[in-house]
């Protein structure tokens, strides 16, 4: 089993370092066993490419700077099919370019990690300023119905942990996983402990047994809906296509195949929501107002809630680490028992629509939105908590 980079890292001890969020993606990726990076540099994600360029070759992995983001994404899918743990990193403009091949990755079920360090868009927007404007693009950027997993860290430590989780979920569910940073988290430095690979759970994709070579069907339905995946070149007959295909991997142009494959792609995620949806909350049970946020905005939210409580207000916070699939059931239960859910976001209102849908009128929902490249200060959230209490 290939895990070249990871094996080397395992020999290392855990280390305490001052790291940027972007650098934490590199360190977390290496702990998870990342062995391949293809990408095109872009602010504020360039430090990720720089880090992998420096470290991967020395560990026996590969780094390729591609001609653009479309090719980068294709390259990552190819490396994944060949058995590598592959990752790419970009920001808004590049993320738009990756969308078509992201759909291909979902269709051929290629485990990989796509990092988007969000900056203000559309277009080249504000290159050096934070945003959470790609939340919906992460969900619906590629065409057609499809499952997706997107994780979003709020601290450098969480960036390490969620990078490892991104690789693990990609391998486990055979799906591209999107890691949504924002410029604040990507560029801030924090003191963190980088774990050794021996301390954390590292997931490897399920591979077929050598004796299954003769009768092998690469997209055979299984109990968990996740077919075992051989590395290209290991003697398994294996066809990959973006067309709807049957268990052999070849397209037959039948509507039944399209329905069965789509249902299986969705089922492998839908039946594992408890494993995939990661969130943290600080609720005492008597909250009137709960602030729900993700990414760097969660830090302002936590600060605001702490101060609101000091002032005697009944407030709590929820921090989503998994943005997609959305924590619908959790929010529905929350809405049943609180008066108001406040959703601060660095966009004109994206995830708040999901909160409204899940809350279904059971609680008031208020947004705080910034889209000028500045972070939401705790005062603004505190004022909102007071206003709706």
């Amino acid at each position: 089993m290939k895990n070249k980079a990871g094996d080397k890292i395992k020999e290392n001890q855990a280390r305490i370092m001052l790291l940027q969020g972007d650098e934490a993606v590199v360190e977390g990726g290496l702990v998870a066993g990342a062995s391949f990076f293809a990408g095109y540099p872009i602010t504020p994600a360039s430090e990720i490419a720089e880090g992998f360029a420096e470290k991967l070759p020395a560990l026996g992995g590969k780094f390729i700077q591609m001609e653009d983001e479309i090719a980068s994404m294709g390259c990552v899918i190819g490396a994944s099919l060949a058995g590598e743990k592959a990752i790419t990193a970009t920001s808004g403009p590049g993320f738009s370019l990756k969308q078509e091949n992201l759909g291909l990755g979902i269709m051929v079920e290629a485990p990989c990690v796509v990092v988007n360090v969000q900056r203000v868009g559309p277009s080249t927007g504000l290159p050096t300023s934070p945003s959470q404007g790609d939340v919906m693009q992460a969900r619906w950027g590629t065409h057609g119905d499809h499952p997706i997993i997107a994780l979003s860290p709020s601290t450098v430590k969480e960036t390490i942990d969620l990078t490892i989780k991104s690789f693990n979920m990609a391998e486990k569910y055979r799906i591209p996983v999107i890691l949504l940073l924002d410029e604040i988290v990507g560029h801030m430095r924090e003191k963190v402990r980088i774990p050794s690979a021996a301390e954390v759970e590292i997931v490897e994709r399920k591979r077929p047994r050598p004796e299954d070579r003769e009768e092998f069907n690469p997209y055979q339905e299984t109990e968990d809906h996740i077919p075992p995946m051989p590395d290209y070149g290991q003697g398994f007959r294996y066809h990959s296509t973006g067309l709807f295909h049957d268990k052999t991997g070849f397209p037959r142009g039948k509507s039944e195949d399209a329905r069965l494959l789509m249902d299986r792609l969705m089922a492998k995620i839908d039946e594992n929501l408890d494993d995939i949806i990661l969130l943290e909350d600080d609720l005492k049970g008597d909250e009137e107002v709960v602030v729900l946020s993700y990414g760097s905005t969660a830090r302002s939210a936590i600060s605001a809630v702490t101060r609101a409580r000091q002032e005697g207000l009944k407030a709590g916070w929820v921090k989503l680490m998994t943005v997609w699939p959305f924590a619908e059931d959790y929010v529905a239960r929350l809405a049943d028992r609180v008066k108001e859910i406040v959703v601060p976001e660095l966009n004109r209102g994206q995830l708040i629509g999901e909160v409204e849908r899940a809350a279904c009128g059971q609680a008031g929902i208020s947004g705080i939105h910034r889209y000028d490249g500045t972070i939401i200060p705790p005062d603004e959230i505190l004022d909102k908590i007071k206003e709706v209490s």
Binding site: T128, E190, R299, S300, I375, P378
Partner: protein, 182 residues
Amino acid sequence: MKRKEIRLSGAGGQGMILAGIILAESSLFDPELYVVQTQSYGPESRGGATRAEVIVSREPIDYPKVVKADILVCLTAESLNKYGQEVAAGGVVIADDSFAGEDYSPPEGVEFYSLPIIAKARDEIGLEVTANMVALGAVDHFLPEIDSDCLEQAIEKRVPEGTEEKNLAAFRTGQQLLSARV
């Protein structure tokens, strides 16, 4: 310990961001100290006003930006104009004496030090670019949370190879600027 907010500001090229990183890195030697460092990016960090922010605390740090600085360092008149009023009561402002003087009045309860930071770097160390380390030496005086030795180790680790001695000398010169006065 309540969080302590430090803002280092100046012009692009004066090394305030490096000083911020060194300050943050010096916290690695204390396992119980949390630290967050952020900085200005983009065109402004390449010529215009530039700033690095460091927050240290004994508790996990939520909001990562400076709200009101407990320590503000300004190496240009522009940065003193911009940030001079965003200082917490009980805090200190340290500015270069080449411009800081009559037209600045600190907020109430804030101590103001106008020091020959750039002049010392230029005349005593012989390298004006070490003004950032002179400034860091002055900051050290107001940072009992971080051991001076830890700052020196962080300087040695981060400055360009071969310039360690000059930078350490600049840091110590900065330390003396205040111990001589306060």
